[in-house]
């Protein structure tokens, strides 16, 4: 936790917050802060700043908060990922959030196991929890938008055109011959397949929608590793 993320409900006065949850536990156990110390804070959806500890014991943390800095610029990258196994999905959401990606679409594909769609980790509160951890890690305040699409055809036909407008659109595909481009000068939409890759007909959907199939080389990465490596290259 490199920043403590605050919500409007934490405020007991205009500039004073009162925390009793895991953030208190973290400050007690990891920061081991004392009264008078200054911690990095941010308001969800708002500015970053500092919180000066005014009271701290096992029951509560109080801080005087100044919010004066804009969060970092969002990464101009829209991520489309075939829903990975739930544990891996959490890692994808975390790394995408820490990289500053603000639009994440999790879609179905032939090789996505149906059981993944029933995981409790897809519930809004579970998703929000991991996104929050990612913002706290990276010192950012803007929650990514995450949406789930159980019908790949509907996603491609109904959502993709608007989502891709004005963007360079890439689909990572192990079989592709074109290397993934670098340092794009305009926003990008990036699609990444499931373990074992998209089926050829699924790649065909994306290509028809204007995507270029690209590769990071012959090695097969875990999806969360691929997200980080591709984003590092593209951004």
């Amino acid at each position: 936790m490199n920043a403590i993320l605050l919500t409007p409900e934490d405020f007991v006065a205009e500039q004073r917050v009162h925390l009793t949850d895991r953030r208190l536990a973290h400050v007690l156990e990891v920061h081991r802060a004392a009264v008078g110390e200054r911690l990095r804070v941010g308001l969800v959806g708002g500015k970053l700043g500092t919180g000066t500890v005014t009271a701290l014991d096992k029951s509560a943390l109080e801080m005087e908060v100044t919010l004066d800095t804009d969060p970092p610029t969002p990464a101009p990258l829209t991520l489309i990922v075939a829903l990975p196994r739930p544990k891996s999905m959490r890692k994808v959401l975390h790394v995408a959030t820490t990289l500053g990606i603000k639009q994440i679409h999790l879609i179905n594909a032939h090789r996505v196991d149906k059981s993944y769609w029933k995981s409790p980790r897809l519930k809004p509160e579970a998703v929000k929890e991991v996104l929050t951890l990612g913002l706290e890690q990276s010192v950012d305040t803007i929650l990514p938008g995450v949406s789930f699409h159980r019908r790949i055809r509907w996603f491609i036909e109904d959502d993709l055109p608007a989502l891709c407008a004005g963007k360079r659109c890439l689909i990572a595909h192990p079989g592709a011959s074109e290397p993934c481009p670098r340092a794009l000068d305009r926003p990008c939409a990036l699609a990444i397949g499931p373990e074992g890759g998209f089926q050829d007909y699924e790649v065909g959907y994306f290509v028809k929608a204007g995507f270029t199939a690209v590769t990071m080389g012959p090695r097969i990465l875990r999806v969360e590793e691929a997200v980080a490596a591709l984003a590092g290259r593209i951004l």
Copy 2:
């Protein structure tokens, strides 16, 4: 497991292997292979190829093996990482291996917790296990060399000069103003600090040794995420 990694001990005849361990379990449970099916295999330190299943039951997997393909080219990147907490170290080793990095140095730093050095995860067999998983994921056969350096001064003075010769040397540092370069045309040595970063005097050691401090932007990544994003950018 995108490839089954073989060792010379697995061979019961010149082209025949007999497996009874976790690789058997994986083929039974995940591949659900049948006799006659062909699986991707590789010989540790040697070539990649295919194994045709000749016998399979709960007690053993036998394959006729043809090894005819060179493993992918190693990534021209030497990684130097301040020893992270053991769980994170495993992730760093895994992602570095899947990215094709073949030289990994784990070093001490002021902010490395002393307890990390006592973890059983630093033992050679534990390290080899995670490297093997990385090779099986990425379809490669060349185990990275991993070395541990408990004295950062000794590492910098004794090991770094030879290790850096002819390389572009970068140290990832959140405070740096120079952006991390892309697509280097020569081998690179990349140093990444601990949670909370290297101390200024530690960065100074590296700078004196010819390293340039570079940044990936204002966001703070987990070390395993930073490895992947930086490697994606540099390679």
